[in-house]
């Protein structure tokens, strides 16, 4: 009870405390941040895989000429999947963590570690959100490309995996980024089942020295560094996926004589966003 008085009497000012806490607790905080990142990244990746699978199944077209058994099976699977999405989107992750961690022990006799429970909770939660994003991503690709793929004889799955999903993935990349950032922050709720991520470590440290403001300020900065770095990396990756703005004409470019003033055998770069000159040469 007299700890705060004791601390106050040590005469440290605010920044002295920050330096001191980093000295005594910095290692633990970093390890906590590492676990937070591990949970968030793994959860997002597995969540995306779940989301893609659910999204693909949800968008399988039911044709009138399909066999009855296929129609019924698909309806049941779809009902189960939308139930999954609704339940996990519709309940707080903190509650899910408790129910899954303690429930798996009591009802199923599975003794999961808190960490494993954490991975499971974050993954299936992200999966529920992602499957809706993926569904939206698939619908965002114009139907014409699906028809063109069908018209050259591709099956539904060939069309999905080689034409639609690569484009849907690009379109929902900002959503994936959002989910990753939310996960970095929301893994803090896993402290309720004592997963030693950043928030749990901070709580312990703050409790030990009774310095809430200082510790949580450090925590705050650490969370921000993690989220900001991730969002920048994702932005860079988006740019990279979009590919270059220009393309090379292959050397035998004598078919397009109109406005094509390049020397024979030499490849020339054309900048598609350049308003004049190169653009008109291309057309």
């Amino acid at each position: 009870m007299n700890i705060p008085i004791m601390l106050a009497s040590t005469g440290r000012n605010f920044w002295d405390w920050v330096v001191y806490l980093l000295h005594v607790g910095g290692h633990d905080l970093l390890r906590g941040a590492g676990i937070t990142l591990l949970l968030a990244l793994t959860g997002t990746v597995i969540g995306c895989i779940i989301g893609f699978l659910v999204g693909v199944v949800q968008t399988i077209p039911i044709e009138p000429q399909d066999l009855l058994i296929k129609k019924i099976l698909l309806k049941i699977v779809r009902w189960l999947l939308s139930a999954y999405v609704e339940v996990f989107r519709g309940t707080p992750m903190i509650v899910q963590a408790v129910v899954i961690y303690y429930g798996s022990m009591q009802m199923l006799g599975i003794d999961m570690s808190a960490m494993l429970a954490g991975f499971v909770v974050v993954s299936i939660n992200t999966g529920a959100y992602m499957s809706e994003s993926v569904r939206g991503g698939i619908y965002s690709i114009d139907k014409g490309q699906t028809e063109a793929a069908k018209a050259i004889g591709m099956t539904h799955f060939q069309t999905m995996f080689s034409i639609i999903l690569p484009q849907a993935l690009r379109n929902i990349l900002p959503q994936i980024g959002n989910n990753l950032i939310i996960n970095i922050k929301d893994t803090s709720v896993l402290s309720i089942i004592s997963v030693t991520e950043l928030f749990f470590t901070s709580k312990t440290l703050a409790g030990t020295y009774y310095t809430y403001y200082q510790v949580y300020l450090i925590t705050c900065v650490m969370y921000f560094i993690m989220t900001f770095t991730c969002s920048r990396i994702l932005r860079w990756y988006e740019k990279k996926l979009d590919g270059p703005d220009s393309f090379n004409l292959t050397s035998a470019g004598n078919a397009e004589k109109k406005g094509n003033n390049m020397r024979k055998g030499l490849s020339m770069q054309l900048f598609s966003r350049q308003p004049t000159g190169a653009r008109s040469a291309m057309r």
């Binding site: 014409g144 490309q145 028809e147 063109a148 018209a151 050259i152 080689s162 035998a252 057309r283």
Partner: protein, 251 residues
Amino acid sequence: MIFHSNPPVIEVSHLVKFFGDVEVLKDIDFKTYPGDVICVIGSSGSGKSTLLRCINMLEVPTGGQILFNGVNIMDRHTKITEYRAKVGMVFQQFNLFNNMNVLENCMTGQMKVLKKSKEEARATAMKFLTKVGMESFIEAKPHQISGGQKQRVAIARALSMEPDVLLFDEPTSALDPEMVGEVLEVMRDLVKEGLTMIIVTHEMAFARDVATRVVFMDKGVIEEEDTPDVIFNHPKNARTQEFLTRFIRNT
């Protein structure tokens, strides 16, 4: 009547298509023989595109039957993907695969559907891209080329599957007037090579020049089907006359 020594490639009989309660195609009968170039004309909403899409099973017909080399493609046991690989389609909106470059657009079907090797697919794709004059653009993505170029690539993509029949659904309707020519030129070349084609079009001059037969559709029925000379110069049907007069007046 034109005499045909070969049996028809595509034989549509009593084809009916409903969209909800609306009957878009009413009892369509229509045959395509090898080497035919059939131009389907008619006003918007007459069912021309739906007919074409039914032939490729992009729309599932409500009734009737479609025979391809004597095989009923509406039968459940017919492998629809194998059939579609033999009947190419060129769309009004090009519908190129946006995640692939020009060359990949022409290779993917050959590799995925026809199970050709990469080298073989590449050679075939290059052959047809050269034919349409797009061989120097193989590295370009669809958003980097013009509408006319896109449509030429789309034609090369369809040809790369080496289909028996090629369907065109208003291939020049989404193009700027100055780009229509380059696409029609490619199509004229294909006619010279004797490719069997069914073309839904509003390009009357083109239809008159290249068609072996012209089909005039109105309100879901084939009103008249004859040689281009008869259809354009001495149409027998009153609706055909009305349509063509109005069409010529408007252009």
